[in-house]
């Protein structure tokens, strides 16, 4: 297994997908809806784009398919792997460090 560091930095969409899967398994549509909701529709991931990211994340074993099926047989559910969790965590730390550094530059208006 590759070290989590080797996947950094994550692309924003990939990070958002991992976040959507943080609380449990989801299907594709649910992921787009979740991202739109959390980012107040600032980031809209269209399915074509979404599935390319899903493919990459699946190929890198950051997420996996589950056996869960609902009324629509065609629909697939995805969940985080251990590696995916570690990568998401490493990315969060990287971003936090970046933000801490940027904070030193007094860029955060009114919150320094």
């Amino acid at each position: 297994m590759l070290p989590p560091q080797s996947f950094l930095p994550l692309k924003p969409v990939a990070f958002q997908i991992l976040m959507s899967l943080a609380d449990g398994e989801c299907h594709g549509y649910a992921i787009t809806q979740d991202i739109a909701r959390r980012t107040s529709a600032a980031m809209r991931v269209e399915p074509g784009n979404l599935y390319r990211f899903l493919k990459e994340l699946l190929d890198n074993r950051l997420i996996e398919e589950t056996n869960r099926r609902d009324d629509d047989e065609r629909r697939r559910y995805y969940r985080l792997t251990t590696l995916g969790r570690k990568v998401a965590s490493a990315e969060t730390e990287r971003l936090a460090a970046l933000v801490t550094e940027a904070r030193g530059k007094k860029w955060l208006r009114g919150k320094a």
């Binding site: 560091q5 080797s6 950094l8 930095p9 299907h27 594709g28 549509y29 787009t32 269209e46 399915p47 074509g48 784009n49 599935y51 390319r52 899903l54 493919k55 629509d72 065609r74 629909r75 697939r76 990287r94 970046l98």
Partner: protein, 862 residues
């Protein structure tokens, strides 16, 4: 839903199979949601979906393309960052690769491709050799027939041939000349190719009056209009009727450039005379016989000849692979030039390596930051490799394009005969070589800087602020590359210098005649039309008279051979016993009309020159040159002595005068020579030499018109000023010299740029240090000399190495050098000084800039 299925097809099949159903389900879910929000929402969904699916579908399909574009875009940042230096490096690589591809194309065309005959490895040139030179020369008819009989075990076929004067084809449009060979019938067995039409010459053709001739494919198409019933057709050659019996297949002509093959007949006199050599012989080895075995067989056969026909100077014979023979005289030159071109490429590569090193070091900080935000070392190396690959690909592509221009220019500039020049082109193999060069340069010269730069430690890079540390290794590497450039350049300069000095020495020699304002015109009198010697003499004398009457003409003569035209004739002499000389010396012969010495300003030293009174019916006379007197005179007056032109009972000829030496070429020292009156010989050819009052080249048309008026059916050969012929005789050397000089200048320029670049970079890096030094009281001149001293270190090392390199390189030139030694000290010193001056200038310019550093400014910048 059909539309959605259709949109899915934009994705690659494997992607579709994996996610298609899931995506469709998702889309259906979204559509249901949209419907609940009204028609506009549905329309908006469709629009978004179409855009999304086409964009990402094609994106997925062409992912490798977009990744490539991204890499290239990334790599091109190098250009934007330092456009000047990048352009210089691209140009250098383009030149390096272009020159290499072009020269390799020539080598591949000339040396590596085969003669287009079956089993070319079996083809050999065969010839007699003498004791001190194993190069096969020519045969005589008697020896040839004997040897042929004795070597049947070694050769499938052995064929003598002789290039005869070009035949003039008449009766089909304008009279045209066609290259003609007289060949023994075995010739076609040696070629191993059946004629495309008709039959080859056979033994029966040797004793027939029907005059059979085999013609080339080109002659058949070009001159006979591809006549389908050409076999049996009679054509008029030199006013005789010849019967076409066969047409050779296209490409089977050997040697290339000939159109007619007539039977080679041996007269009784030819067979009896074993003391002259005028036949070329080629052979086809039996399948299992090597060239060495064939040579051994030839030697045994010649030993038998020596027994049956004893001779004062027994000769042997040898075979030489035709493939080697055809290219022997260019092989050395071509490989040498290729080697030189490789050095140029290496110098360009060293510069590329230096540029990458410099940028890599300058980007320590950038890399440090990138590492800090998570870029791996491999990622950085890939990026730098992409950059060097981009530079070399651009340079290499321009270089390959350049090669397309260079190849025709090289071929056109090449003065000699390049065998197989029509096959020379830039094609697959050559371009593959270019790709190889690109990959090699970018990997080798991109990898070292990449590895070096990627070793950056985060803390180290962030601590060293702008203008700070440069790693020791990088500094060593840069100096090493400069040293290597200097070594290569100095070697080339020394080589070029030697060739130039040799050329000047060679051409500064007195030739013994005055070629100024002398026009030459070759005349071959067709023997069928003018069968007797007096008739042919009348043609020569008539034309000489007509030319002499022209107001522009000072004097006219004819001579055979013409000095410097590469031809020569020799005869074995028999001495008058009274002369006290023994042996049968071979002396050069020249046949001239009385005005010869006037036209060429050859001084008469004693006695008299050939005069108008020396007619055919007058006593036979000859004039000799100084070299003849030196070698055979024995301090006696040669005037009045008698010689005969052959060992047999030829009539006596009296020597009546001595003239100064005339060189036959720059290379040969004047050899003993005899000049005979034109009127006392039975020549069929000669060259008019015409001293004109104005520029000789302008007179050429007039000469041709005059000759045409007098003899419409006797076309003059090439008409050319003598000075051109003299110049052409050293054209090969001038070409080699110019090419090497051009390549050496290119190398000098490239290394100067390289040294300048390294110095300029070093100076920028050390601005802060210089500023501090000056703040502490150093004078600008001190700073300047410090920089220059440090810059000269690798150059001095390089000069030492370069002298060693020159020692080896110039040894390869030994064959090309005339009267100077390969390790000529003055040339080496001159080359060193030249390089030193250029190197100093390349160091001084950046050094001056460093001395102008304003300490306050620099220190404030921190």
């Amino acid at each position: 839903m059909t539309l959605y299925r259709l949109l899915l097809r934009v994705f690659p099949r494997r992607f579709r199979e994996r996610f298609g159903d899931d995506m469709t389900a998702t889309f259906e879910a979204r559509r249901r949601d949209a419907r609940s929000r009204g028609a506009w929402a549905t329309i908006a969904l469709w629009i978004r979906t179409v855009i999304d699916m086409t964009r990402h579908g094609s994106g997925e399909r062409w992912q490798f393309v977009s990744e490539f574009v991204q890499d290239v875009r990334f790599a091109l940042r190098l250009f934007r960052r330092r456009p000047g230096i990048s352009a210089v490096v691209v140009v250098m690589l383009a030149l390096g690769i272009g020159v290499n591809v072009a020269i390799f194309s020539v080598i591949n065309g000339v040396l590596l491709r085969d003669v287009s005959l079956p089993h070319p490895e079996q083809l050999v040139r065969v010839g007699e050799t003498d004791a001190n030179d194993r190069t096969p020369e020519q045969f005589n008819a008697g020896n040839y027939l004997d040897v042929q009989r004795e070597t049947r075990d070694a050769f499938q076929a052995l064929a003598a041939y002789r290039v005869v004067p070009a035949a003039t084809l008449t009766g089909v449009g304008d009279a045209v000349k066609a290259g003609t060979m007289a060949v023994r019938p075995e010739f076609f067995d040696v070629l191993g190719v059946a004629p495309a039409m008709g039959r080859p010459l056979t033994a029966a053709d040797l004793d027939t009056s029907s005059r059979p001739v085999v013609i080339s494919d080109g002659f058949w198409r070009g001159k006979l209009g591809s006549d389908p019933r050409v076999i049996g057709r009679r054509i008029e050659l030199d006013s005789e009727a010849w019967t076409v019996v066969g047409v050779l297949a296209n490409g089977a002509e050997y040697p290339a450039g000939y159109d007619l093959w007539k039977p080679l007949l041996f007269s009784a006199a030819d067979l009896a005379h074993r003391n002259g050599w005028d036949l070329s012989v080629i052979g086809r080895l039996r399948a299992s016989v090597t060239v060495d075995q064939a040579s051994a067989a030839l030697q045994r056969a010649m030993d038998l000849v020596a027994v049956s026909h004893p001779s004062p100077q027994p000769r042997s014979a040898a075979a030489l692979s035709l493939r080697e023979d055809a290219t022997a005289y260019v092989r050395h030159d071509l490989w040498f030039v290729q080697g030189v071109a490789m050095l140029i490429l290496l110098i360009a590569c060293a510069n590329l390596g230096n540029l990458l090193l410099a940028t890599a070091t300058a980007r320590h900080q950038e890399f440090g930051v990138r590492t800090a935000i998570g870029a791996s070392r491999g990622r950085l190396i890939r990026q730098m490799l992409a950059e060097s690959l981009a530079v070399s690909t651009i340079g290499g592509s321009i270089g390959a394009a350049l090669a397309f221009l260079l190849v025709p220019a090289l071929i056109a500039a090449y003065p000699g005969d390049l065998p197989g020049r029509e096959r020379i082109s830039v094609s697959g193999l050559e371009l593959l070589g270019a790709v190889g060069a690109i990959v090699l340069t970018s990997v080798v010269f991109g990898l070292a800087p990449a590895l070096l730069a990627s070793r950056t430690r985060l803390t180290h890079a962030l601590r060293a602020s702008a203008g700070g540390g440069t790693s020791q290794v990088a500094r060593w590497l840069r100096s090493g590359l400069v040293t290597a450039e200097v070594v290569m350049t100095l070697s080339l300069l020394a080589g070029a210098g030697l060739l130039m000095k040799s050329f000047v020495t060679l051409t500064a020699q007195p030739v013994g005649f005055d070629a100024r304002n002398v026009l030459t015109a070759y005349l071959q009198v067709p023997t069928p039309r003018f069968p007797t010697a007096p008739e042919r003499l009348r043609v020569f004398e008539n034309l000489i008279d007509r030319l002499a009457q022209e107001p522009d003409v000072e004097s006219v003569a004819s001579t055979l051979p013409l000095p410097f035209d590469g031809s020569g004739r020799g005869a074995g002499l028999r001495w008058d016993p009274a002369f006290g000389q023994t042996g049968f010396p071979l002396v050069a012969e020249r046949f001239v009309s009385p005005q010869y010495a006037d036209v060429l300003s050859v001084p008469l030293l004693s006695g008299r020159f050939i005069s108008n009174a020396d007619r055919a019916d007058a006593p036979l006379v000859a004039v000799v040159n100084e070299a003849f007197v030196r070698q055979y005179g024995n301090a006696r007056n040669v005037i009045g002595m008698r010689v005969a032109r052959r060992a047999d009972a030829s009539p006596w000829i009296t020597i009546v005068g001595v003239v100064a030496d005339v060189r036959a070429t720059y290379l040969q020292r004047p050899r003993p020579e005899m000049l005979f009156p034109l009127a006392q010989t039975a020549l069929t050819a000669g060259t008019f030499v015409i001293k004109t009052r104005s520029s000789p080249a302008q007179f050429a048309q007039r000469v041709r018109a005059l000759a045409h008026d007098a003899y419409p059916n006797v076309p003059l050969g090439r008409i050319e000023p003598l000075s051109h012929i003299v110049g052409d005789s050293v054209a090969q050397r001038r070409f080699n010299m110019s090419l090497l000089a051009a390549l050496a200048s290119l190398a000098l320029l490239l290394s100067a740029i390289g040294i300048y670049g390294v110095m300029a970079y070093a100076v920028t890096q050390r601005r802060r240090e210089m500023g501090i030094r000056m703040a502490l009281g150093a004078q600008p001149s001190q700073v300047e000399s410090l920089v220059i001293r440090q810059g000269l270190m690798p150059i001095a090392l390089g000069i030492a190495g370069g002298l060693a390199g020159a020692w080896f390189l110039t040894a390869l030139l030994k064959k090309e050098l005339f009267e100077i030694q390969p390790h000529d000290p003055s040339t080496l010193i001159t080359a060193t000084l030249l390089f030193f001056v250029v190197g100093l200038a390349a160091c001084w310019l950046p050094a001056r800039r460093s001395a102008r550093v304003n300490p306050v400014e620099v220190l404030r910048a921190d």
